[in-house]
């Protein structure tokens, strides 16, 4: 029995019956990572780390009983390097744990000693913008795993992780989950504490689970959700037991299909998988109806104003003073030595996409352009939110493709940022509206690349997501397929 292949809930059963110990799992996973990660490259700094799951003495009654969880490189882990896959955070060891890490530890999780790869500061949709080099898609090593949580998604898909955490600002959990054939959930804004998540765009960021199936997703959500006094945007809303939503049927559930998501740009193979999935949901008893989200086409431009504006402000803290990389010998001599140090540190420490976004964000916030860009984007954000509010008055959830295509080739879009940005066209609206959304596997293309189905619900409607996703999953074979590595 290869333990690394199992899901968290399957391992929990074996741990409960004392058939195995958590150490058995850690050893199996360690071996798997050693064998396959040189090809997949889901983890970073593998040369510097011992690949040990930091074992804590798991109590028998703890929720996770010592099961290892893999963590994206932008979530702070006390004393364990957290570098956002960026040169500018080289060597950074957080002096504290993010709230989600604290909660996982309290629940008996082992936090893996290795972090998962990502686009630098979560800027990207392919994990190619990592200072450590790209992660590869386990289904086809020539393809990207999606991004920015590409490392977490690839690790779960290749059985190099039992379960993982990622972060999602415009699709960074769902799009890689779709590309890698795993389950990825972006919770409602405020559902999960962002304390200790290195900020990209504070009004959009959420941490969420990337798992092999929906039951594991619900298990992790039970642990990481809830109000946190250290995050003033976290919501004081009770956390239900999400596993209770599993196994409920979807008879009579009202599902909306937005017509704007099925237009030009949607790959025909993805489209046919989604249509089959919608038929399946219908067979399972859901009522399906087409609706309109009229402002959908504006989501990407709104996002690239708001997200870059917030990023330009959040990333001002990386200045070579408190942590990370500092350029020591200033080359630009025309200003004070301090300003030269800042400029050289940031010029050398950030990669191309980070520079592009910081400069764009600074521009849209600058005097004379604020009203034309930033303020206008905030107003269109209102319109996008109102589109969703209107649909949720009548429907329980919305179903769409997660991404317009399956995984693309490494290098295919990296030189054309605008084309890359459009790969998040279906995921961005959920962040702008603060609503929860899940991606579940729903088929494969002719080339054996996974396709993802996205389900969206109203704020704090995660239970509906689990109900629909789990019912669909239990009646389809897709989540059981694994890549050959």
């Amino acid at each position: 029995m290869e333990l690394y292949k199992l899901t968290g809930h399957e391992l929990l059963k074996k741990l409960s019956s004392k058939e195995i110990t958590s150490e058995d799992i850690s050893l199996a996973l360690k071996k798997r990572i050693k064998e396959t990660d040189p090809r997949v490259k889901a983890y970073v700094r593998t040369d510097k780390s011992g690949t040990e799951a930091k074992r804590i003495e798991a109590r028998d009654n703890s929720a996770l009983k010592g099961i290892p969880v893999s963590i994206k490189d932008n979530i702070c882990t006390d004393g364990l390097n957290t570098e956002c896959s960026s040169r500018i955070l080289t060597g950074f060891k957080p002096p504290y744990d993010a709230t989600v890490i604290k909660k996982l530890k309290v629940s008996g999780a082992s936090i893996l000693d290795l972090k998962t790869n990502m686009d630098e500061f979560a800027f990207g949709s392919s994990t190619e913008n990592s200072f450590f080099g790209p992660t590869r898609n386990p289904w086809n090593l020539e393809c990207v795993p999606g991004g920015s949580s590409g490392g977490s998604a690839a690790a779960v898909a290749s059985d190099e992780a039992i379960m993982a955490l990622g972060s999602d600002t415009g699709g960074s959990i769902r799009q890689p989950a779709s590309f890698c054939g795993v389950v990825g959930l972006k919770p409602t804004y405020g559902r999960v504490s962002r304390y200790g998540l290195i900020a990209f765009a504070s009004s959009l960021d959420q941490i969420g689970p990337i798992t092999k199936d929906t039951e594991d997703s619900a298990l992790l959500m039970n642990i990481i959700s809830g109000h946190d006094p250290f995050d003033s945007t976290s919501a004081c809303v009770d956390v239900p037991d999400y596993t209770k939503s599993l196994g409920m049927d979807i008879k009579g559930l009202k599902i909306a299909i937005p017509k704007e998501y099925f237009v030009e740009g949607l790959d025909p193979q993805v489209k046919s998988s989604i249509e089959e999935a919608i038929n399946e949901l219908k067979k399972l008893g859901a009522e399906i109806k087409e609706v309109s989200l009229p402002h959908s086409e504006y989501a990407v431009p709104v996002y690239y104003i708001i997200a870059t504006a917030e990023a330009s402000s959040n990333l001002a803290r990386f200045d070579g003073v408190q942590y990370g990389f500092r350029a020591e010998d200033s080359r630009s001599k025309d200003e004070s030595k301090l300003i030269s140090m800042y400029k050289d540190t940031r010029g050398q420490g950030f990669g191309q996409e980070a520079k592009r976004r910081i400069i764009l964000g600074t521009f849209v916030l600058s005097h004379g352009y604020y009203d034309a860009y930033y303020l206008r984007a905030l107003k269109v954000r209102t319109l996008i939110k109102e589109d969703f509010d209107a649909v949720f008055k009548e429907f329980d959830c919305i179903v769409t493709p997660t991404a317009p295509t399956a995984a693309f080739k490494i290098g295919e879009k990296i030189e054309d940022p605008l084309r890359m940005y459009l790969s998040d066209i279906y995921t961005i609206s959920a962040n702008l509206s603060g609503i929860p959304a899940i991606s579940v596997p729903c088929g494969f293309t002719k080339n054996d690349l996974p396709v993802g189905l996205q389900i969206l619900a109203k704020p704090f409607g995660e239970e509906t997501l689990f109900r629909v996703a789990h019912t669909y999953e239990q009646n389809t074979p897709w989540h059981k397929r694994r890549p050959t590595l």
């Binding site: 060891k93 002096p95 010029g347 860009y373 206008r376 605008l418």
Partner: protein
Amino acid sequence: MAITKETVEYVAHLARIQLEEHELEKLSAQLKSILDFIDQLKKLEVSNIKPTSHILPINNVLREDTRGESLAVEKTLMNAPRKEGNFFVVPKVIE
């Protein structure tokens, strides 16, 4: 609205990012095409729409003004590229 190379250079300075000449060329062209794309927002009439900066109804969150736990100096400084005693070291500011 067209973004010029001079504007990019100036904004990069505001953002405290030193760009090499080839980066400046490439970024100016890329930012121009991104801004052209973003300009489709101008099609919408938004004068009567309220801006959304917070997606959920959140009011000011206050707590009692009491002392809590904080990081020790040693931990605060442990990641500093340069430090001396209890201080971060930066290049000389006053000549």
